[in-house]
């Protein structure tokens, strides 16, 4: 994953609360190999009617070039499916601004270079107004933690560790393996001091 610290694109509003990960990608698409791309599944059943026709007034259908999403409270709650983040990222979304995110979703987002930026409810309402029937050019700056739309500048919250990770595009496995010695020591101590922790039967490698 490559890191980033600035992004310029268009912002669009999705003024809905509780957009859960079942909405972001319905479960029937989740057996698809990632190499086929997940963008077309993003918010599939909200964007289309039962016959597969797209709703022309749905924000992401009107502005399918948008890369910055402003959404309602509790975005990405529910299922742990990382496919919800794949759908956003593959559809070209780089940042989501909302008053709150599902805890698992937010972690998944960071692991895929997608910014889950927390803003206040007032700022959300302000952005909803400004983006009511249009998409606007906008710029996200991770270093300074702000979103610039026209002459409006909105700060956002992000865990500092997550910000560093996004900027550097770090892979956790590489980072973790630098703690090999500490991990091995922990595991050895456990085996000696707390034998009850291991499963009573050991799997015979088939």
């Amino acid at each position: 994953m490559s890191g980033w610290s600035q992004h310029q694109g268009h912002a669009v509003a999705l003024p809905i609360h509780n957009v859960d990960t079942d909405q972001l990608i319905p479960s029937r698409f989740m057996s698809t190999p990632r190499s086929e791309g997940y963008g077309r599944f993003l918010l599939h059943d909200l964007r289309r009617d039962a016959h597969g026709e797209t709703h022309s007034d749905f924000p992401l259908n009107r502005h399918d070039h948008a890369s910055i999403l402003v959404a309602g409270r509790n975005f990405g709650g529910g299922s742990s499916r990382e496919a919800a983040v794949y759908a956003l990222v593959d559809a070209g979304i780089r940042a989501v601004f909302a008053p709150g995110f599902g805890d698992i979703f937010a972690g998944n987002a960071i692991n895929n270079g997608l910014l889950p930026a927390r803003i206040s409810e007032e700022e959300m309402n302000l952005l909803f107004q400004g983006l009511a029937d249009t998409a606007l050019a906008a710029e996200v700056c991770l270093e300074k933690r702000h979103l610039q739309i026209g002459d409006q500048r909105i700060g956002f919250d992000l865990d500092p560790g997550w910000r560093t990770k996004l900027i550097n595009g770090w892979d956790d496995i590489d980072l973790t393996l630098t703690y090999r010695t500490e991990i091995d020591r922990h595991s050895q101590v456990l085996k000696q001091r707390a034998p009850w922790i291991r499963p009573a039967q050991i799997t015979k490698n088939s």
Partner: protein, 468 residues
Amino acid sequence: MTAPCTLLDRLWTAHEIVRREDGASLLWVDRHLVHEGSHHAFGKLASRGARVAEPDLTFAVVDHYAPTRGRDRIADPQIKYMVETLRKNAHRHGLRLFDLKDPGQGIVHVVGPEQGLTLPGLLINCGDSHTSTHGAFGALAFGIGATEVAHVLATQTIWQKKPAAMRIRIEGRLGPGVSAKDIALNWIARLGADGAQGHAIEYAGSAVRDLSMEGRMTLCNLSIEGGGRFGLIAPDETTYAYLRGRPYAPQGSVWEAALANWAKLITDGTATFDQDIHLNAREIAPTVTWGTSPEQAIPVTATIPDPNTLANGKAQGARDALDYMRLAAGRPIEGTPVDQVFIGSCTNGRIEDLRHAAAVLAGRKAKVSGLVSPGSALVKAQAEEEGLDRIFVDAGLDWADAGCSMCVGMNGDLVPPGKRCASSTNRNFRGRQGPGALTHLMSPAMVAAAAITGTITDVRPLLEGRAT
């Protein structure tokens, strides 16, 4: 003098290998549970050429795509592919697999405890948000995404920032026909679907102590529906009695050593929480959802709320939900006709759940069709031994094999578009049980009541004079 500790503090400290400057902890993972949905993670592992670090601590279960009927030949190529991919990955890495025909097969959050893989004091991860279920044993258990699953597979550790601590204390006795499901829907309706975001929830109080392990699992399972990634209950005699003699649980002198350790897994009397919530068990009625978020729940005796009376910010969501659910504000929820019912899932597919439903259904006929899918093959066998399957079948419901089934519909068990289902599951999200499906969440006993009358019904009168 050490500072007073919460159960969360104790579990966290015991698993922390290092803590980074930014506050993230590297935690040791004692059990890792994987399922068909973990295919992205195994793919990531393969692309690095890495192996599963601790195959003996990693267990694979077929559940999300498990057919509940006609297991011998899986007709759908996609489902077959998902099951076979898990088989291949389990075989390649030498993992114990609970395959379709295994007597221990079932939903991962039912299988873990049932096999004694879930124990107090452990850290348990699974690529599934309802991993919070295992916290009912006093384990630090939380759901993770695919990148994190790959990380646990490769390193047997996970990076995590310690969540804030919340306690939900429920005192008093639950009324007849009221269960852990109702407690959960009650607090979620009160605090919101994001009410516990960023928090680990410890459930305490006499009503929690009085719950069976099944009830405690239901309660912890639903933590995520209120935004909490972790649910926790301190272990006690009920916990030990459940675990004793389970296949993977410690035995003999090791069991004794375990008990001595588990007794220390408590929250100190003087410890404080970032949020402390109190509920009175006596005030909780059988509860049902009317909308498309678990927070949109009301007592079965109440009327569907008028969006105009809801707090600013919730009104539009409520209007959209009523529109999707084809319901009118101001009408009683009781009496709403349903087209079908479902009993099952990791929330309410355990033996006690089936007993509760059977107690209502015994000697009665269902007015609508319905499916009962036990949480595991062991639950199924137990239910058949007790004759519960006969009660369901005689009532006119289908009795099927174990799996996630109609909770998520991945195996093809779907609610048709526009049909209304009374369901013992955990998510009433739009389309969760199938595109256009209308889901009402409730306890298994309430689902049974809906089956009998063909409408959403208060189960309590139907239980009068019956042993439950």
